[in-house]
Symmetry: C2
Subunit: 196 residues, 2 copies
């Protein structure tokens, strides 16, 4: 898609071009402090019914990578005890991928009278998508990752200790060492309704 969509300014192309790239293929440099601030502003520009601010981001400091690796290792061992140390090693390694790793922490109010829980999750998704698109706009690649270990009590306790929040996963951001492999896109689904 070399030409812009008629009347567009390139946003649609950016949306269609965006691809997730595995965090292990993301290297330094990542976003600097002012770029990171832009990404977080982009997140905050997502639709947010009831203005509940259902998502916040937590950057993993370099000093925290070893501890995160330990948590990943323990969580993997607990959740798949039969899998052996190779899996635990592989999971631990993931804490060191990507120069910028942002934990995505959601706070969903299940009893909110204005916005039902699923609308709050939709808002979280819109915020995450804004971060991914904004990161790509700055020349980085990015991906949101989760996996079973994220649901472990250990990781939930580390990032969502109050119990009223939920660790969703991590957004990994960095400079790509490879391009994502092209993949077939679902065309999307549009139907028509005339009430009959």
């Amino acid at each position: 898609m070399a030409e812009l969509v008629a009347g567009g300014k390139g946003v649609i192309e950016a949306i269609l071009r965006r691809r997730s790239l595995a965090p292990r293929k993301l290297v330094a440099p990542g976003p600097d402090a002012s770029q990171l601030e832009l990404l977080i502003s982009a997140a905050a520009a997502a639709p947010d019914h009831g203005r509940l601010h259902p998502v916040r981001f937590v950057q993993i400091a370099d000093a925290g990578r070893a501890t995160l690796a330990q948590l990943f290792r323990q969580a993997a061992s607990q959740m798949e005890p039969q899998a052996g140390p190779e899996l635990a090693d592989r999971e631990a390694e993931k804490a060191h991928h990507a120069p910028c790793l942002l934990a995505v922490v959601a706070r969903i109010d299940d009893a909110n009278p204005v916005a039902p829980a699923h609308e709050q999750w939709i808002s979280v998704g819109a915020a995450v998508q804004n971060v991914l698109l904004a990161a790509e706009d700055l020349g980085f690649r990015a991906m949101i990752v989760s996996g079973r270990k994220v649901q472990s009590r250990l990781l939930q306790a580390a990032f969502a200790p109050t119990g009223s929040e939920h660790l969703v996963g991590f957004v990994a951001i960095g400079t790509p060492t490879a391009e994502p492999s092209p993949r077939d896109r679902h065309p999307g689904s549009l139907a028509h309704w005339s009430g009959t």
Copy 2:
């Protein structure tokens, strides 16, 4: 923000500039068939863990507006029986707002072994955000709207009859007759974690 963010191509500005505009302020023209196809492609480019395609869109045909108005009226009367006919009239009127009205229908697999339900909702949110951003890129304004009536059995039965889907709300798209009022933006939340 007159200048582009250094290194950016304008996507961040588009994200920060986007504002929801009430459907009653959206008039014709709306997107034509090929523009609508782009919006749906944009939706399908959202991250989708497990490739579950958890969202589809249903355009309300002109011929369906009167029926939708009737559903809005009945749903409002059922859900707020004490409110009187003014509320029902007001709700019915909303079925005629905006030249393009897309019902957003989610199919969430609560028992999926790969992607928990909340990840599927996040995917729905990312898809909706892509539609909103793509619509703005084409010069339209857009907003996702819901409200209590959307949760009514009547509307759920009309758009998600199988029971395995859920009507989330409607994306309204059109040409703005007014600019959205500026509003203070939450700055977003970024914390740091070093594991201690």
